[in-house]
Subunit: 377 residues, 2 copies
């Protein structure tokens, strides 16, 4: 008998009561009962997204909402600035390319965060840039960008700021309205503690004005349609009813903890994870680490792929490896969503065991001890 512990940056564990909520009898989506659920969810989402803007819910993975953030707000002749600090930043550029939107790439060194001054400079040099695309937490490197400062660089220009908060939302602070973020992209299977299958897009008034001019083709991801339906607490297409019922409950959980406490819990668990790793002589890969996921360099002479596989297959602890050029070079431990102190203890304990088995020199319990020290403070 082994319990399955999900320590990956998505999907994250789903609270038991939410799993059961989603197993309630199926109801029809065009009923007063479901409209009431949507009304609740629409109102609670604004609080979690820290915005007065509407937050549209779609049935898709987060990538669908990324596509929606491009095809609804840009046109063929437009130019976009893409902050590329990893796989997910790059994805914005790939989508632009497919739709014939010109891109200017701001390539950030892997493991580092974007420089807000550089963003301001790009915009100054090329005022034709219509949108700036950034990640909040770049899941592939565990870096959190300084969206507050990037927002300052963008807000007084004509460009909109689009933030992929898929893995960062509800873990790293993101004050959409205060910071001047125009579009926030999110997914269900991260900080929102749900199964994958829902994506979100929060739309500012500034973005809405670009939307009217957009000439890129879209149908399923048509945000004009989605916003119109949103205004009536409805959806343009059949919504993922069971996931949305789960969302209603999960948002209650989040809001009863409170956004401030929620972010603080993630910051604390992230800090403890980093400190425990450092106490084992390991190096943190991310220069500006996110609260959602900790990326750690695989020590020399240890096989990074084996590390992740042994954690999965032998310890039933699911962590993530590096992607693409980081494959085998880093491992990533998430502390995202439905996570508490003893999940971190388990993660560190399991990592110690597996690292030792793979020949890394450490004293079992050292990292755990460091985590305990910080947890008991």
């Amino acid at each position: 008998m082994k319990k399955y512990r999900l320590l990956s940056p998505g999907p994250t564990p789903v609270p038991e009561k939410v799993l059961l909520k989603m197993s309630e009898v199926m109801i029809h989506h065009r009923t007063n009962e479901f409209q009431k659920v949507l009304r609740e969810v629409h109102s609670k989402l604004k609080k979690v997204f820290c915005t007065e803007n509407p937050v549209v819910i779609m049935a898709s993975s987060g990538t669908g909402a990324m596509e929606a953030s491009i095809v609804n707000f840009l046109s063929k002749a437009d130019k976009a600035l893409i902050i590329r600090g990893g796989k997910f930043g790059e994805r914005f550029g790939e989508i632009c390319e497919k739709y014939g939107v010109a891109t200017v790439n701001y390539d950030v060194v892997s493991g580092e965060c974007a420089d807000p001054l550089a963003v301001a400079d790009y915009l100054k040099r090329d005022p034709s840039i219509k949108a700036v695309f950034s990640t909040l937490c770049e899941t592939s490197t565990g870096v959190v960008n300084d969206i507050k400062a990037i927002g300052k660089a963008v807000r007084d220009t004509k460009a909109i700021l689009v933030v992929d908060a898929i893995s960062g939302l509800a873990a790293d602070e993101l004050l959409q309205d205060e910071w001047g973020v125009d579009l926030v992209v999110a997914g269900s299977q991260k900080g929102l503690m749900l199964p994958p299958g829902l994506s979100f897009l929060s739309v500012s008034k500034k973005a809405e004005s670009l939307m009217k001019a957009s000439d890129l083709p879209k149908y399923y991801f048509d945000i004009t349609k989605a916003l119109k339906a949103h205004g009536k607490d409805d959806t343009p297409w059949t919504p993922a009813v069971s996931l949305i019922k789960g969302l209603d409950l999960v948002l209650d959980t989040i809001l009863s903890e409170g956004m401030h406490a929620l972010i603080a819990r993630h910051a604390r668990l992230a800090n403890i994870t980093r400190e425990a790793m450092k106490s084992l002589g390991l190096e943190i890969f991310s220069k500006r680490p996110s609260n959602a996921v900790t990326a750690v360099k695989v020590p020399q002479n240890v096989d990074g792929t084996k590390l992740v596989n042994k954690m999965q297959d032998e310890q039933a602890l699911t962590i993530a490896g590096g992607q693409e050029e980081l494959k085998g070079k880093i491992f990533r431990v998430a502390h995202l969503g439905y996570m508490d102190d003893y999940d971190i203890i388990s993660a560190v304990a399991g990592l110690e065991i597996v690292l030792k088995e793979l020949g890394y020199n450490l004293t079992l319990g050292k990292g755990v001890g460091r985590a305990q020290e910080l947890l008991s403070k």
Copy 2:
């Protein structure tokens, strides 16, 4: 205390064991465990779709798969024949229009089915038509099209045949390979007895050859990517894990009943519903009625909207009204998916009560009696 009975053409009731399956602990999608689920599901889907072609699973509503069936296989200069017999036939045309694909509309009288000879004629007159779009069951009118005959008209031309089987799959017979259907679009919340959130697209070799030439933009719905991942029992984006685990179980249920018995059960329940309605003096709207849903004309002097609302609010029996120009003129009772004899008895009994309350002259029990007669045969 009232039990909620879902008699709408989607979402349909989800079997209790499937609801519980989807409430299992969340697992990661890039694991051997989940890959095994995908392998199983990919193999079972072929049996349910009656095809040797790959059936791709997407996280979206059925409309997303409809869009995928256009943007991956057509190009801007192409022309499509759209069989429009209702709201869902029309949707194919709307999507084509958004992407700049020229359409030829074959408008079928509402409540009637498409004439396969007319389809052949359209193709003969205009050999530049690249694709023919039809619904299997046109949910808005309860009509099932003769896809076998339409397939004969299309298969020896250069055009591909695209069938929206969203509400018809696993209720009305659809032998994809035998009948020469190239793309089959489906959704989870109909005959597949799951919550909404998954869509499906089954792709023939003939369609794959058009795919290579397609110049329409796509990213999330890129079927080239999806087929490549499918070949490795993977998905290009994070899949809706819990729904797919439910799918695995539901496909077992379907295949253990057997496709022949499954279609026969739907045909039987549909026939009984129609006969019960007729015994009450009501008229069936559909000239070629589907096994999935029965559309019935609202009798004179009865308020069709009130009928649907009273069924919902007072009887907890969810049926559907007419859409758009059929609003108030028809009501639709589904017998789709997880449905048995006593669901039909309940539907007929509830309809009798509400019709009588709305002033329609009938003897309570007459329709139920007719249903019993046929059920006991």
